[in-house]
Symmetry: C2
Subunit: 378 residues, 2 copies
């Protein structure tokens, strides 16, 4: 077992340590950045500036705001290994998944993970019912036989387990089955490299590791080669070519903007741009290295009474781990009283996320120390 | 022709005059509140408070935020004549219209106005194509023969003409045809009284007369009696009964929340609540009376060289008028240089909106005076 001094030394040697000062942080140990990320100082300032721009510039602000979903999208693209012009920020993960899934599914079974995040499952349940298609919920790898669409989470929202993105992408491409990646728990948490692996479709959220604030708009990714042939089921004016030439029939833009729908929430879209830029500045390789080191320390310091419910191999884990304890709910409440904020999932899981932009090694050490103090001596 | 002193007297007698101080206003005459409303002081403060709540409270803010779409919806309900629990704030007008239209249309023609706001037309074009239904674009009153859905704007976005909401609602009910009202240009601009007239379905935006800021979420209204039988095509986790009991199949909430989808943008939803409350505090009857008086003054002061392109009967006009001039685009630019902000629509229309919460009679007088100065003497 390492000591707190070891954790202090790791912080002193951490090349990303200065990024913590770029956040507005309260005096708690925050291990729930996988639910809602912390607030970057730049984002606080940008929200204030946009609020003032609305007040003083009024409608003239739209000259600058019209391109905001694309600008934020390009910022996210730099974090997930996509090219400029392949990502747009608008709507929620739910709505974006609906748009993409309805656009690419023509017939055949809809395949998803049994343990997918509920909203993904609900969207696909609804689409399957509307299309009269089979919804196939897989326990392990996707069964592509007769499949017309696969939706897969890159990082499992409970266990933090990383799916084999290169392998599943390859198999789906070989089988000619459209595949949508859900990057909610991986965008900003680990390198994704969509283009490198030939992944063509993805959605993801921005209020977790991209730190864009409560309910900030999601992103939607379509590789350049697929854009022109896909059409959103929701035809809206922000997707229209020559948007203000209002008398024409629907004629969507050729690029990623064709997946926009209505007017996007401008303050929230700008927060995505700021959060993604900060992440890109730190660099996903450095963030991933620190994330792995933080989780390793966390697991090393984990009290014996709680069981790791995540893969033991660091290469197969995202930036959070799940641990189990019969009294998980009570322990979560007690940790919060002790100024450590994790996340409880029924019935017996505590999720502990590290967010290398602002989590310190001493935070991990102290959190585990406080957890240990809540348990009977082993 | 009245004098500026007459306008000053009208301001002195205006029972709503004090509401202007509740807004953060730049030194311009703003006649484009039908595109983007001005910023209430309370909203500026609420955005700042929520930004801080995110930074300092982090994920714990969700205890309060989960009900935000319903709270904002109830605030909007008070302005449009709906009951508490009949309105929800989330997504955009485009997405909300898609959800409602897809939920109520089963077969038959989809009927809309030829001059509907483009995004309404696009949504219905897309739905008609997906359903193999006829899209019938009407020049006058809706033809209900063989109709399976009617979508109608309460106030025309160009001319400001008010549709016969009681009459069309009655005819559609008699014929058994579902009817969705688009309230974008009437919510907050004039009394709507949905419940009184038996209107059961509506959508509308909040960044115009409800002053909730750029891209603020739209609202969606379903009368209590219709809620349980309707199902959104987009099945999302914010619609789910017992949202955090995550292992169950989709089972939507019985009330209006079943039309939620993904995580709503919290800062923007709160801005809707503030804007709608301020409107309700002033009262729609008083706001309408002042709006009519402001528009009457505007028309009286209109230079001879520009032609009114809105109904001449005040009872048939909303809170904006359209005027025509061959040089409308140049005049709009020159008005903006003269610190008067109207709105230009191709090819020859200038829209002039009065927003009785913050527009003064002298503003209208001065704006028309400056417009007259830009035209050759008649």
């Amino acid at each position: 077992m390492r000591s707190r001094a070891d954790a202090e030394r790791l912080d002193a040697e951490d090349p990303l340590a200065a990024f913590r000062e770029r956040f507005v942080l309260p005096k708690v140990i925050y291990l729930d950045g996988n639910s809602l990320g912390a607030q970057p100082v730049a984002t606080r300032d940008r929200i204030a500036a946009l609020s003032e721009q609305w007040a003083t510039g009024l409608v003239r602000g739209w000259d600058e705001w019209l391109d905001a979903p694309r600008r934020a999208g390009d910022a996210v693209a730099a974090v997930i290994g996509a090219h400029p012009g392949e990502v747009i920020c608008t709507d929620s993960v739910t709505v974006n998944l609906y748009k993409l899934a309805a656009a690419v599914h023509t017939d055949g079974a809809i395949v998803a993970q049994r343990r997918a995040f509920p909203t993904d499952r609900y969207v696909l349940e609804g689409l399957a019912e509307a299309r009269g298609a089979e919804l196939r919920l897989a326990a392990g790898e996707p069964d592509l036989d007769g499949a017309g669409l696969v939706v897969w989470s890159h990082v499992d929202y409970r266990s933090g387990e990383i799916a084999d993105l290169p392998g599943i992408t390859w198999r789906c491409r070989e089988a000619g089955v459209p595949l949508i990646w859900d990057l909610c728990h991986s965008a900003g948490a680990l390198p994704v490299d969509l283009a490198t692996h030939g992944a063509e479709l993805a959605v993801g959220c921005t209020y977790k590791y991209l730190n864009a604030g409560p309910g900030s708009p999601a992103f939607l990714y379509v590789a350049h080669a697929r854009q022109a042939q896909l059409r959103s089921p929701i035809w809206g004016w922000f997707a229209q070519r020559d948007q203000f030439d209002m008398e024409r029939a629907y004629d969507p833009q050729p690029g990623i903007e064709r997946f926009l729908a209505g007017t996007p929430p401008i303050l929230a879209v700008a927060a995505v741009e700021e959060g993604a830029r900060l992440t890109a500045e730190a660099g996903m390789t450095a963030l991933r290295a620190k994330s792995v080191a933080l989780v390793e320390l966390l697991i090393e310091c984990l009290p014996d009474a709680v069981a790791l419910a995540s893969p033991s191999d660091p290469a197969r884990r995202g930036s959070h781990v799940a641990v189990r304890h019969p009294d998980a709910e009570r322990l979560t409440a007690q940790l919060i009283e002790a100024d450590v904020i994790p996340d409880f999932r029924t019935p017996d899981v505590i999720r502990l996320a590290v967010t290398p932009l602002y989590t310190r090694f001493v935070d991990v050490w102290d959190a585990m120390d406080r957890l240990r103090a809540l348990l009977p001596p082993s």
